[in-house]
């Protein structure tokens, strides 16, 4: 490892880094703006100046930009040099000549990299007395606020938005000292990753608009480490609360999962926590419980639990703890998985494929490092958004490696490498039912019905391994496609095969597994990524239970008196007809949930269940990674974790095993001891007895304000702060001030680093894992030694049928997820229900765009406006999934029109 000398001290640093990275990794403070660990360096801001010296005798040295200079053995440099310091101070001074006098009304304030860097350089007095340049702002949609005056021209925004995330509608305009970062004209930012601008921009130009609605400074937030509930990828988040409402979601760096970024569903989908639809008190027959004959609520529940006639319905959006406690409470025989038939089939198959097969599941960062990507049947941008961002990085692997060979530069030389790469893309092949956003970067993108996609998958696997039967009756084009894909995959080092719930087809999943396994047999390090619909879909499937349809059947046969429904709206799992039948055939429904919905209307007893912000729990993501999320704040209402409600119910009814459990640790230990598949979840985070220097880890920063005033309007004597008996975190600002274990970091802050950039200080090296490793633990490991037989049942090709259409599911990042649509901004971007048709089919059924098409499914009538989309195969119709008010239509399925 090279040794460099900084300010007359020798340090060992890592090869291949730049000096700025080396200094920051060593924990030294050096200001910067335009460099970002995920974006590399362009040397645009001139802020990171240091002095380098020829040798020990050189006293003069020369000023260079540390972010543009690679580490060299025996290099001598100085951060502290007077000239370098002056230079940096002046650079900030110049940046500030046009900076508005805005900190007081700027949402970045208190978490502003520009403030931090200004203080760090020592620039404190404005000696420029001329006028300031101003800009007009733009309306950028419901997620981001734009205040262009505050821009320091670091170019980070466009580099992230365009170069990194593939966005098209944000750019830099005008020239010289007038450059403008924005859209060509006012309008909603189209990228699904636009929210990251709020964190990427080191100033207050782009700020979180939902935060602005209930603005709170970073120092005033009670925060905790949490896990996104938006989809099955389990991105790590930090959630902050003030005055009983969640105010902001920010990224929680995890080098194995989401890195520095989040998608907009994850960042903005939190507002359901503050919704006025929240269930806050226990209800019996839709009246508050305390008025219900004076009987304590738990008695009401207990009376209704008839042994043998009580069933539990689990939920893919409830924690592992809640689901397991419910399963134990009602007994394994009476535990049903509250997911739709299709989701259950697909997720359980994914789980089987990952467990039995020899190929590992890719984490998001593994995916970003893949060199060839094959997507089968998924519209990744809508079903697992951050995976799409990883794919966008993966397609750059091969061209970047080639460019590095050619120009002999490190990958962080962003501008030079991008120049060398131009528009070159690595191999990405997409087979999907309709056009997807990733098509634009794909080497090949083809659209056809799910079964035909699976057939091509099978054909590819046959070309990789001839023990897999040949697909008969393939078209010429199909054969060509399969040959191209197979050829490219064979030459790959780390190919990634993506499939999942979005394709709605088991055959696709099987063909994906076939391809990956065949590659594995060729000695190629293949990876699989199966998307799953919800944050704990995988955990629920691993827990195992009966199918939801059998619960309905059992109810019809008078086998159910009471159903305990855990955090679930059964009308999103069953079609309306079956759900109605189910509810009308049971005596009582005990519901634990957050929001009033149709299921809540049917409930006899409602227990207010905590959302992720009011609960501790564990989720298992699509790759089988178990991750802990922590309660953010103690609600002032009766809301508590579902598992706690259920434990209390168990105690009231004298349940033998559950009565002894009380705290999170008890439940976690119980799960790990009872279910071998969850072995290891006890080590996810330190337990409740963990202390650092005898202290808990505070959820509030030391500058947290208003403790003696925020509740003084109710009572001038401050109440005792809530105590957290479940974890080693405290709800107050008192506690250990140093760095907590990575799995429980409640906010990123270091002296002098108030913004998100403080994360540097928590990493082993810039961009590397957090000090004590990435949070989370993988529960599924591939079966490397065993060999699972390949799948051989190739589906028949799908051909359009007279008077029929094949309904295929269309997922939407904004709209398909149940809880996030309670954020007004997300609801505003949700599409209206529609039916996607090929123009030929439209002709066939004599409709045009906007016309209503009517069909019936399972006794339910659907009348949907037609949208023409010629990227669909003929005879296939797309139907959006999960939009509110759309009764579920099972897809894929053949319908008669």
């Amino acid at each position: 490892m090279p040794i460099i000398n900084i300010d007359n001290k020798n340090y060992e640093v890592k090869e291949g880094k730049n000096l700025l990275e080396a200094c920051l990794s060593l924990g030294l403070n050096l200001p910067y703006f335009c460099w970002h660990p995920a974006l590399g360096a362009v040397g645009a801001c001139r802020q990171c100046a240091v002095k380098v010296f020829k040798d020990a005798d050189d006293t003069k040295g020369r000023i260079i930009m540390s972010c543009m200079e690679p580490v060299k053995d025996q290099l001598r440099m100085s951060i502290d040099d007077k000239d370098a310091r002056n230079f940096r101070e002046h650079v900030i001074g110049w940046l500030m000549t046009n900076h508005p006098h805005d900190c007081a009304v700027c949402d970045e304030g208190g978490a502003c990299h520009l403030q931090d860097m200004t203080v760090m350089t020592g620039h404190s007095y404005r000696d420029y007395h001329f006028t300031k340049r101003t800009y007009n702002n733009q309306y950028l949609g419901p997620f981001l606020n734009h205040e262009m005056n505050r821009c320091i021209q670091c170019y980070r925004c466009v580099r992230f938005y365009k170069d990194f995330a593939g966005g098209k509608d944000l750019d830099v305009f005008a020239a010289h000292n007038h450059v403008y970062f924005g859209r060509q004209q006012d309008g909603i930012l189209e990228s699904e990753f636009s929210g990251n601008l709020a964190e990427i921009c080191p100033t207050g130009v782009f700020t979180d608009k939902t935060l602005k609605q209930h603005y709170t400074r970073k120092w005033d937030l009670t925060s905790a480490a949490s896990v996104c509930q938006g989809c099955g990828l389990g991105c790590n988040i930090l959630a902050g609360e003030r005055y009983g409402a969640v105010r902001q979601i920010t990224n929680r760096f995890n080098a194995a999962v989401n890195g520095y970024f989040l998608c907009d569903r994850g960042r903005y989908g939190y507002e359901f926590v503050n919704s006025d639809q929240r269930i806050k008190t226990p209800m019996v027959h839709h009246g508050p419980a305390e008025q219900s004959n004076g009987i304590p609520i738990l008695e009401h529940v207990h009376h209704r639990i008839v042994p043998g006639k009580t069933i539990g319905i689990g939920s893919p959006r409830a924690s592992l703890e809640s689901n397991t406690v419910l399963k134990e409470l009602v007994g394994a025989d009476n535990f049903y998985l509250g997911v739709s038939a299709a989701d259950h089939d697909l997720v359980s198959l994914s789980l089987r494929l990952l467990r039995q097969g020899p190929v590992r599941a890719a984490s998001l960062q593994d995916a970003a490092a893949a060199d060839v990507v094959l997507i089968l049947g998924e519209d990744v941008t809508n079903t697992a958004p951050m995976l799409a961002l990883s794919v966008r990085q993966a397609v750059r692997r091969i061209p970047v490696a080639a460019a590095q060979q050619q120009v002999h530069l490190a990958a962080w030389q962003d501008a030079a490498i991008r120049e060398a790469v131009q528009d070159d893309k690595g191999p990405l092949f997409i087979l999907s039912v309709q056009e997807t956003k990733l098509d634009e970067i794909a080497q090949g993108a083809w659209h056809t019905a799910p079964d035909n996609i699976a057939r091509i998958g099978y054909a590819v696997s046959h070309l990789l391994n001839d023990t897999i039967p040949e697909v008969t009756g393939m078209s010429e084009q199909g054969r060509d496609i399969a040959a191209t894909i197979a050829k490219t995959l064979k030459s790959a080092a780390h190919p990634l095969i993506i499939a999942g719930y979005g394709g709605g087809s088991e055959a696709i999943l099987k063909s994906a597994a076939n391809v990956a396994w065949a590659l594995h047999d060729l000695g190629i390090d293949a990876m699989l990524s199966f998307t799953v619909p919800e944050c704990n879909s995988m955990g629920l499937e691993m827990l195992d239970g009966h199918r939801l349809e059998s619960a309905v059947e059992r109810a019809l046969n008078n086998g159910v008196d009471t159903a305990i429904v855990l955090e679930n709206d059964l009308y999103r799992r069953l079609n309306q007809h079956s759900a109605d039948l189910f509810f009308s055939n049971i005596k009582s429904v005990i519901l634990l949930d957050h929001l009033y919905n149709i299921t809540a209307e049917k409930a006899t007893i409602i227990l207010p269940a905590g959302t992720f912000a009011e609960s501790d729990g564990t989720l298992v993501n699509n790759e089988g990674r178990a991750q802990r999320f922590f309660q953010v704040f103690a609600p002032a209402t009766a809301v508590q974790e579902s598992w706690r409600w259920l434990l209390q119910v168990a105690a009231a009814s004298g349940h033998t095993t559950l009565s002894s459990l009380q705290h999170l640790d008890d439940v976690v230990k119980y799960i790990a001891a009872t279910y071998p598949q969850f072995d290891g979840i006890t080590t996810l985070t330190p337990d409740a007895h963990f202390r650092l220097a005898g202290q808990k880890v505070p959820r509030e920063p030391h500058r947290y304000s208003g403790r003696t005033a925020m509740l003084a309007n109710k009572n001038v004597s401050e109440p005792k702060p809530a105590e957290d008996e479940d974890t080693a975190l405290s709800f107050t600002m008192e506690g250990y001030r140093g760095e907590p274990p990575s799995s429980m970091i409640p906010f990123f802050w270091q002296p002098g680093w108030n913004s998100v950039q403080a994360v540097n200080k928590y990493q082993v090296e810039t961009g590397g894992p957090l000090h004590d490793g990435n949070a989370g633990k993988r529960l599924i490991e591939p079966n490397v030694n065993g060999h699972t037989p390949f799948y051989t049942e190739v589906p028949e090709p799908y051909l359009p049928l007279k008077e029929h259409l094949l309904l295929v599911p269309c997922y939407h990042i904004f709209g398909s997820e149940e809880l996030s649509i309670h954020t007004p901004g997300i609801a505003a971007r949700m599409p209206a229900p529609y039916l996607l048709l090929h123009s030929e089919d439209a002709k066939r059924f004599q409709v045009t765009e906007g016309h209503l098409l009517h069909f019936m499914d399972n006794g339910h009538h659907y009348t949907l406006p037609v949208i023409i989309n010629d990227t669909l195969q003929q005879g296939v119709a797309g139907i959006p999934v999960g939009l509110p008010g759309m009764q579920i239509a099972e897809a894929p399925q053949l319908i008669k029109v």
């Binding site: 508005p100 006028t131 403008y180 309007n713």
Partner: protein
């Protein structure tokens, strides 16, 4: 012995000195303008609320007795939706005034705040907001800030150029 007599003599002389004791409450003590007493929220020269809800006073307060929620009105001005000071905790250190970037929060020369019940010492915005500029007349934050509000567009603030025309290619 001598010192005893001396002390007695000095004390005796005091009888002829001017009295320092004020006959409070009949007689009020003159307080300097910068005396740190009752806290008020002042207004800018146009009569608008000065406080922009920046939370700096709350953060500066060593006893954490200020709490507020900032919000924005239709004209784009930020203001506190509520602003509460718990005077039963306040130590009148004046840090809030020092932290305030808009001269909104000011300590006034008035200490007559006694109450029979502690709860009465919790002041809300209605109790704090006064119709005056206080000690710092003339300052108007929005006139110098870069944020546009109704009636003051981009480029209208002090020392500002008119907004850049991004379509212009002129040097």
């Amino acid at each position: 012995m001598f010192s005893l007599v001396r002390s007695m003599w000095l004390i005796f002389l005091h009888m002829f000195h001017k009295r320092e004791t004020y006959q409070y409450p009949e007689q009020k003590a003159p307080l300097p303008a910068r005396w740190r007493g009752r806290i008020a929220l002042t207004r800018d020269p146009d009569g608008g609320e000065r406080c922009v809800g920046c939370y700096l006073c709350a953060a500066a307060c060593p006893v954490d007795c200020i709490s507020l929620q900032s919000t924005e009105d239709e004209s784009g001005r930020r203001y506190p939706e509520f602003f509460r000071i718990n005077f039963s905790r306040c130590i009148f250190c004046g840090f809030c005034e020092e932290a305030c970037p808009t001269y909104a929060i000011q300590l006034l020369p008035d200490f007559e705040m006694a109450e029979y019940s502690r709860q009465q010492l919790v002041y809300e915005k209605e109790d704090l907001l006064i119709n005056s500029e206080g000690k710092y007349p003339g300052y108007n934050y929005y006139k110098v800030a870069g944020m546009a509000i109704q009636g003051k567009d981009k480029g209208d603030a002090k020392n500002e150029e008119p907004p850049v025309d991004v379509k212009s290619l002129l040097p």
